[in-house]
Structures are given as C-alpha cells and as structure tokens.
Amino acid sequence: MIEFEGVGHHYGDRVVLSGVDLRLPERRVAFVGANGSGKSTLARMINGLVQPATGRVLVDGLDPSRDGREVRRRVGFVFTNPDSQIVMPTAGEDVAFSLRRSGLPAKERAERAAEVLAQHGLAGYADHPAHQLSGGQKQLLALCAMLVLEPAVLVCDEPTTLLDLRNKRRFVDLLAGLEQQVVLVTHDLDLLGGFDRVIVLDAGQVVADDTPEPALRHYRKLVT
C-alpha cells in the first residue's frame, strides 16, 4: 500500500505540496489537478524520483528515500514523453534492457521481451526500430518496458497527453485490464470511468478525494 504522511515539498521558494496525508489501498487511483498543482511531484515521490522535503512516503512499509532500490522494484513508472524513456534502438532491446539485472541469459531476456510486446499489441515489433514506432506504439513500448519487470504498482504521469483519441482509449483500456495497482496522473477526465478513487490537487493540497463523479464535479467547479 502507498501512504503519504504529512508530505510537503518546494522548489526554491515555490511551495508545490503541503500537508498531504493519503493512504491508497485502492487498485485504481487517479491524481487530477491543473498544471503546477503538484500532482506530478506527488506521483514521483512514490518511486523516490523526488524526495519529500517534509513528511514521508511509504510503499508497502518501505521509504523510497531510504530503500529506493527495493521500492523501484515494486513500482513501475510511465512518463508523458515516450521518446525520453526509450533507451535502446529496437523495441525488443528496450524491453530487454529492463531485465539486464535479472540474471537471465540474453536469449531468455529477448524471448521475455518479445512475449510482453506481443501481449500488449506490439506482436512482431521486437526487431522494429523503436523511434520509428507511432506515438501510441511508443507509449505501449514504454509500458511494456515496465510491465516486463512485473511491478506491483504502476505509476503513470500523464501518459496519454501526447496520444490521439484512439490511442488514448487503447492505452487506458490496457491499463484497466492490468493486475497491477495503477496510480494515474491525468488531465483527461473522461478516462477515469473505472477508477475507484480520484484525488484532486490544487496549489499543492488535496481539495477533493472521492469516487470519480463527485471528485470531478468538484474539479470542474474549481477551474471555472
């Protein structure tokens, strides 16, 4: 389970988060908020990419700022721009890169990679140049590179922002079918149908925390 206890953070003088207390046992959780509301910073704390200035974060009882390595094994992270996540020239190599510390022989790593690609709509793309994939396919690849590690939690920071409507839907349908706990940071309010819980952030504070419908009603009121 993911827990935030009195979490605060600032970049220079600008406070981006203050007094965030959350326990997230639900399988599908979304962070919603305007640009600069602190939702991405909060998400990055789950796997220790950002460390809170005050308070602490726990993932299954582990503190990411102390046991970063252990936590990152449990928490996969998908970013907005797949171009910065893909580090190897072909799709298969990129997924296999995630397994480099697994101790599996290279041949098995490649097979695992091809398997995971095939399971998520990229069958036959293992030898395809990663940077020639379409935007939607690249984001699927970024997702596969995380899922091959079988994390318990998947954090996605606005993963659909650069995608067209069809790919957006496809990506979200895929997320919906995962066995992982998913924490989705998003602006796309119409994607939150199947979510258990939506947390609305504004100016670094939690201003609504509810099931999607009432939470989003609150958010819409906030921005109009």
Binding site: R69, S84, T90, A96, F97
Partner: protein, 201 residues
C-alpha cells in the same frame, strides 16, 4: 538520420556470428586495409566484403543506400587525391575507404546494438578490478546511439519551428530552443533511467 534503422533482422551465418568476433574481424580488417598498399589485394578485400553482403542477404535497397554513400565519398576523395598525388595512390586510398566503410556498415546491418553492448561488457569485464564498470560502458553505447537519434529529431523540429516564424537564418531562433529542449530531454532521460533502476547498483 535514423540510428535504429541500421540493423536488419536476419538469420544468416553473419547474423548469428557473435558480436565480439565480428567486431574483432572488423577491427583487424580496418587495420589490414591501412597496412596493405597493393591495389590488387585491396580490391580482393573489397570483393570479400561484397561477398559478405551477399552472405548476409542484405536487401537491394539497403545495398543501394550504402553504395550511394560510398559513391559520393569516393568521387570526392578520388578527385582530390588524383590531383594531389596521382592516380595510383588515389585508387589505393579509395579502395581502403570502400573496404573499411563497407565492412563497418555490414557490421551494423547484421548486429543488434544489444549484442554489441553485451560484447563490450564481456570484453571489458577483466578491467572491472581496476574500477571500470563494464555495464555502465555498455549502457553508454546504447545511450549514445539513442541520443544521436533524439538530438537530430529535436534539431529538425526546432528548424521547422524557426522556419514557420520566418526565422530560418536566425542563430538565436535555433540555438535557444535547441538547448532548452536538449537539456529537458537530458532531465527526462535521467528520470526515466532512475525509474528503471539504473544507478541502484
């Protein structure tokens, strides 16, 4: 330029030869080409490399790409050397260039980058007792290739944006957004690597 597009999947003997051996052969060949001075021998090496392309069943389209690249270079070098040094040295120099570059291209066409990376890692493992981290060097190779692709994409997009504003000749309209985006890319790449456990030892 598309870095990822270099490798052509296949199952020919050349594809299956371990990357380390291919690299060693390429290395020896490149050395030999610059030691051998006889045009006949150099032509023989060129023919051997061409045979390599046939063995690897490189697609005609790909062969044409390589040929076009070599042709442009050869015409230029041949003209210059002929004028400076005379015909025989010019031909020798061109044969050297053709042999070395064609062989290097054959290597990249038949070898996955991941295999190069693990060959580098394996080759450097004996150095680990001197503090060299082979896995880091392997990652470096992959990231270098990725960055070349990423930077050329950024440069192309920035140039387009400058053109759209009628500023294609402005140095500032290119350098400022190019630097900003390059730095942002570096930040994002760093975060993505950290999220994938790189640096966790």
């Amino acid at each position: 330029m598309n870095v990822g597009g270099w490798y052509e999947p296949g199952s020919t003997p050349l594809h299956r030869t371990p990357a380390g051996w291919k690299f060693l052969v390429l290395f020896v060949l490149a050395g030999a080409v610059f030691l051998v001075g006889s045009p006949v021998w150099l032509a023989a090496i060129c023919a051997a490399v061409a045979l390599g392309y046939a063995v690897a069943r490189v697609s005609p389209r790909r062969c044409l790409q390589v040929l076009r690249m070599l042709a442009i270079l050869v015409v230029f070098v041949l003209a210059l050397q002929w004028w400076l040094l005379g015909p025989v040295p010019a031909i020798v120099m061109c044969l050297r260039i053709v042999a070395a570059l064609a062989a290097a291209n054959l290597f990249t066409i038949t070898t996955r980058v991941e295999d190069v990376v693990s060959a580098v890692e394996r080759g450097l493992r004996p150095l680990s007792r001197f503090g060299v981290r082979p896995d880091r060097l392997g990652l470096l190779v992959g990231l270098t290739l990725q960055s070349v692709a990423a930077l050329s994409t950024i440069a192309a997009e920035v140039r387009e944006a400058a053109k759209a504003r009628g500023a294609e000749r402005s140095v500032i309209a290119f350098t400022v957004p190019f630097l900003v985006r390059t730095l942002r890319h570096a930040d994002e790449l760093g975060e993505a690597l950290a999220a994938r456990g790189e640096g966790d030892g």
